[in-house]
């Protein structure tokens, strides 16, 4: 089984638009949305949810007020400002480290598991899909991403589907690291702006760090053709393959508005370019 993960560094460069179209073009694949902060792929692929489960991870300190002698040792040792002056736990700040429990002389602190998110699986027109949503302001998004990918892989193996398409989150932190590790190919989507290029370099460094082969795609390239060329030159120097660039096209938000993968919405300039990109990525995956 081959896994493609689409990432970007910078948000809003078009990851989900590309991945949704890849799903339509691939015919049959397993789809995983690893942007667990803000999952959007389901808005294009409309899975029929067959299973939904709570994701529990991480700990939260709970102080038993009856046992507590108000000695304040917990407040002294907490490094996350998670114990308030009146010795209550601030659930937003608590990292669940348990330092407070270690020092509590009367065992008044307990660590309980947090309900950190929910994950879903279901069928789409294009194959099975797994996605998840972190509960607002929760932690452990990396673990939830790992769970989504594990379930998606298991499904691919069960049904003998040879392709896993993973939509990654923006950034370079823990959920991105959890999305990229062990993938066969990372497609890094960027846009020709100073921010896009800055973040592209960081995303490519991350891929190198975790030894995942990368390909680069420039979206909305005609907004600044000279930066598009610079990206191409940079990638040529670094021996990273670059796909066809995708033009700025107002069809893209319209397709999202209709809840359709771009390639099924129209055959305009961006749509045609995305089809070419898919051909190149597929060759990259088979070759890699």
């Amino acid at each position: 089984m081959k896994e493609l993960v689409v990432i970007s560094g910078k948000g809003g460069t078009g990851k989900t638009t590309l991945l949704g179209s890849f799903a339509a073009l691939a015919g049959c694949s397993v789809l995983a949305d690893c942007d667990v902060d803000a999952p959007d792929l389901y808005l294009l692929l409309h899975p029929e949810i067959s299973e939904q489960e709570e994701f529990r991870a991480g700990q939260l300190a709970v102080i038993d007020a009856d046992r507590c002698t108000r000695c304040g040792r917990c407040l002294e040792v907490c490094r996350f400002e998670a114990i308030t002056a009146d010795l209550k736990v601030d659930t937003l700040n608590c990292e669940g480290c348990g330092a407070c429990r270690v020092v509590c002389p009367v065992a008044a602190v307990e660590l309980v598991e947090r309900a950190a998110g929910d994950w879903f699986q279901g069928q789409t027109k294009y194959g099975p899909m797994v996605y998840a949503r972190l509960r607002p302001a929760e932690e452990n998004s990396g673990k939830l991403v790992a769970l989504v990918r594990r379930e998606a892989r298991a499904w691919a193996e069960r049904e003998g589907i040879g392709l896993l398409l993973t939509d990654g989150p923006p950034g370079i932190g823990c959920p991105v690291i959890a999305s990229v590790g062990n993938a066969d190919l990372a497609l890094v989507v960027t846009e020709p702006s100073p921010s896009g290029v800055h973040d592209l370099e960081r995303a490519l460094t991350l891929c190198r760090h975790f030894r995942v082969p990368a390909m680069v795609c420039v979206n909305k390239f005609d907004l600044n053709p000279s930066l598009d060329r610079q990206v191409r030159e940079y990638c040529a120097r670094s021996q990273i393959a670059v796909t066809e660039s995708i033009p700025f096209d107002e069809s893209v938000p319209r397709a999202i508005g209709q809840g359709l993968p771009l390639v099924e919405f129209d055959h305009g300039p961006a749509s045609r370019a995305v089809a070419v990109v898919w051909g190149q990525v597929r060759s990259g995956l088979i070759g890699g």
Partner: protein
């Protein structure tokens, strides 16, 4: 450009790429005098617009355990105490996994032998300086490091509180956003009028409710499909602070690394209006 109140205003969004940094940096530019904290430490970009002169760089460190093998009796209490599996006793060795360590100190508190000392480990940097009269601070998480929150905390520690503070947050709904927005007087949520934008806006609003930070909405690339966002704001009683029309000239200026307020003067006027509304809302909620 009148002096603004010394409030802390965050700019955030569930979805990435909605224009947070463009708006946040634009507010700083039209205001002229403020403190700007770029808290998107995974992908800090505001410096590309504000072009500050960096005068100070500091490392962000977290304390990680170091084992004194002379004192260690391999009891394993440290590994039991660690909730992040960052320390393990294997045979006659204690192994530390630095990238899993949150620097909480539970292991050293649990060690009865005093065999754990803490040593600093760098996970990123904070740089600060000036861009005209704008005090500028940003943080940068080292590539390969999973934990952004300590770097965000280090950026926010620079807030002087004597002038308007503008915070540019990371996208999403998880801990980095919480850390960036926490303690703000008001949060502007930037969205775009697509189902993606609206879905992510809903989640971002839930985060603000949990944080009890009052918030308002700005529709960027406004034009088609604003109605659904307007309806959502109405049911949630969220102020719609303004709209920025879909305009290729804005996108092109951005792509060329120039802040779009310089290319599209109308945008500057809109941003000033939006910021003034946000400040009015923030003060309304304070009184």
């Amino acid at each position: 450009m009148s002096a603004k109140p010394a409030l802390q205003i965050a700019v955030a969004s569930g979805k990435g790429g909605t224009g947070k940094t463009t708006l946040a940096a634009g507010f700083a530019i039209v205001t002229g005098r403020c403190q700007f904290l770029d808290c998107d430490v995974e992908e800090p970009n505001a410096h590309l617009f504000l072009r500050p002169k960096i005068t100070q760089t500091e490392a962000v460190i977290i304390p990680i355990p170091e084992i004194d093998r002379e004192r260690c009796n391999l009891c394993g209490h440290c590994a039991e105490a660690c909730q992040f599996h960052a320390i393990a006793v294997m045979g006659r060795q204690v192994l530390v996994f630095p990238e899993l360590c949150h620097g909480c100190g539970a292991c050293s508190l649990a060690c009865a032998e005093g065999a754990i000392r803490e040593a600093p480990r760098e996970i990123g940097v904070v740089e600060s300086g000036k861009s005209g009269k704008i005090g500028f601070v940003h943080g940068r998480l080292n590539v390969g490091e999973p934990m952004a929150t300590p770097v965000i905390r280090a950026v926010k520690a620079h807030r002087d509180g004597k002038q308007l503070t503008i915070i540019d947050a990371a996208p999403g709904t998880a801990c980095p956003v919480v850390e960036a927005v926490k303690g703000s007087d008001f949060c502007l949520l930037v969205t775009e009028p697509t189902p993606f934008g609206l879905s992510d806006l809903r989640l971002a609003v839930e985060v603000m409710e949990k944080l009890t930070v009052p918030c308002g909405v700005v529709i960027n690339r406004s034009g088609e499909g604003d109605e659904a966002t307007e309806a959502f704001c109405a049911t949630k009683h969220l102020p719609l602070l303004g709209r920025i029309p879909f305009d290729r000239a804005i996108a092109e200026a951005y792509a060329h690394g120039r802040h779009p307020v310089y290319a599209v003067p109308e945008l500057g006027r809109r941003l000033e209006q939006i910021l003034d509304r946000a400040l009015a809302c923030a003060q309304g909620d304070l009184s």
